[in-house]
Amino acid sequence: MANLVRSKRFWISILLSIGIISLKVNPILLASIIFIITFIFNKNTIRPLKNYKFWIVILVLILIVPIFTGNQDTTFYGINYSSEQLQKTILMTLRGISVFLLFQVLTIDLKVNNIKPVFSKLGIKNFEIIYNLSNKIFPKIKSILTARYSLFKINWKKQKSIESIIIFLTDIFTDFFTLSDSILSEESEQYSVSPSNFINKYDLSQKPCLYIIVGDAGKGKTPWVEELIQLLQTDGHIVDGVISKKHKISDDNWYHDLIRISTNDKRQLTTMDKVETTTKVGKFKFYDDTIKWGNEQLKSINNSDWIIIDEIGLLEFDGGGFLPGLISSTEYSNQNILFTIRSSMQQYFDQFIIRRLPKLDQRERYYINL
């Protein structure tokens, strides 16, 4: 049905356009046909013609212009006018009404919901967030203006001066600054940093930064990162690096897989079983060949917009683990870099960067606590 209506509008618009182009052939007849077609299509299209403002220009064109311009060759009740100019302005007027009706046909059923997706699709950053926030604060804005206007009316009775108006406006803007500040602090508190909030909060197109996702074990750092990767990839970013995904065998037996983000290749990284290894952290034993493989993967990263390493821990802080791969992939990189670390490691992180990855120390650094 919608398609039918759309096609009906399309064909009527084509018809009206042809009528406008050939208006000179028989202006009054064609303009009348255009009017009738438009009225039949939707009677609301002609409603704006009731507005007197629309007719001011038309009256000037038809009644005034022929009297004051052109060759005054005809007289009407003693008033000289130019018949050539009158014909010209009548044609202009009929064209004006016809073009206006064409615009009405094109836009009469246009709803906000038809236009809104256009702006979202155009990729206007944060449009949806701003639009939703705007809807939320609309009543507050209304009440501020109403309250200030009531005060202004009282003051205006006492002192009618420009100064009163300036004070009124100064107060209004001060209220709006205060409103912005209070919303800002409210938003800061309520924004639990979900991956989508993260993307919206940070200007990811600015110079490459270092983001550190901080959270205790079991807080969901890896699922958070996985969601972020998906969002970034949907936005067209090339994401690479490694994530370490925890798997449960039983309540007291877990292991981790190391997964290359760009290729999805994976190797088992840790185990709680008894195996021969040189690397052990807590209950977990690390497979040396997986660490070696992980470093090779990190060294081979190029052409990505993001490097994500999940997670940096004691091994790297002590100069082992994936540090060689980290140095190689991040030191001269121009990508955004994101690490995850445990909360207990945060206090040593700045020192780790200075000592082990000094090139990254130049970058702006953001900690996101989950």
């Binding site: 007197y52 403002k53 220009v57 000037v60 064109l61 005034i64 212009v65 004051f68 311009t69 052109g70 010209k88 302005t89 202009m92 007027t93 064209r95 004006g96 073009v99 836009t107 059923d109 246009l110 709803k111 906000v112 038809n114 236009i115 702006f119 206007i124 944060n126 449009f127 967030i129 701003i130 639009y131 926030l133 705007s134 604060i137 609309f138 804005i141 209304k142 203006l145 300036i166 406006l169 100064t170 803007f173 001060t174 709006f176 600054f177 409103l179 912005s180 919303i183 800002l184 938003e187 800061s188 924004y191 919206n200 909060k201 940070y202 200007d203 600015q206 930064c209 702006e364 953001y366």
Partner: protein, 194 residues
């Protein structure tokens, strides 16, 4: 962390001042329209200019004025049962123009008064464009002929004076708004430095 705060501040301020602009357009704009007052477009443009300039001092982020305009245009659009494309496009065009000017000249005296001048010219240019689309390309020559013919018949350059007065009224309001915004900027400076 500062950058994140700035981004968030920018989002909030665009929402607040864009909504304020849209609210004024929807309420005062529709009231002026119903009262059939002359120069209602220029009055609204002048008020919008004050809001835009003060908002830009609070949030000098590039692109913020354009986004404010989109929000204002949507609020204006919601105020009608169907979207009136004219006001919608006009608000967004205003936003784009001031965005370009403030990105170039920033929020100093030059930026304020250049914005005022351009906003003064904007309704005139808008009228010329819309009327030329409606009535054809001969609309402007006809009006100029009318001013000349009226002057010739009535004398005292009356036609040119009338046209001049109309144009001056269009120009003075936005320039006055720019001056008022500049005065407000000075008054609001202590609040903005906080």
């Amino acid at each position: 962390m500062e950058s994140m705060q700035n981004n968030q501040k920018s989002i909030v301020s665009i929402a607040v001042f864009g909504t304020l602009w849209g609210f004024i357009e929807a309420t005062l704009g529709n009231a002026l329209h119903l009262l059939h007052l002359p120069f209602s477009g220029t009055i609204l443009t002048s008020i919008a200019l004050i809001i835009i300039l003060i908002a830009r001092i609070y949030n000098p982020t590039r692109g913020s004025t354009f986004l404010m305009a989109i929000i204002a245009a949507f609020i204006k659009a919601i105020s009608f049962s169907t979207v009136k494309l004219g006001p919608f496009v006009a608000i967004i065009a205003e936003g784009i123009l001031i965005e370009i000017l403030l990105s170039t000249f920033r929020t100093g005296r030059v930026g304020f008064f250049t914005s005022g001048l351009v906003m003064a010219a904007y309704p005139i240019v808008q009228t010329v464009i819309t009327k030329s689309i409606l009535f054809g390309s001969s609309f402007v020559p006809v009006i100029i002929d009318l001013a000349g013919g009226f002057s010739k018949q009535v004398g005292y350059q009356a036609g040119w004076w009338l046209l001049g007065i109309y144009l001056m009224a269009q120009i003075l309001l936005p320039l006055g708004a720019a001056y008022l915004a500049w005065t407000l900027k000075k008054r609001l400076a202590p609040r903005l430095q906080r």
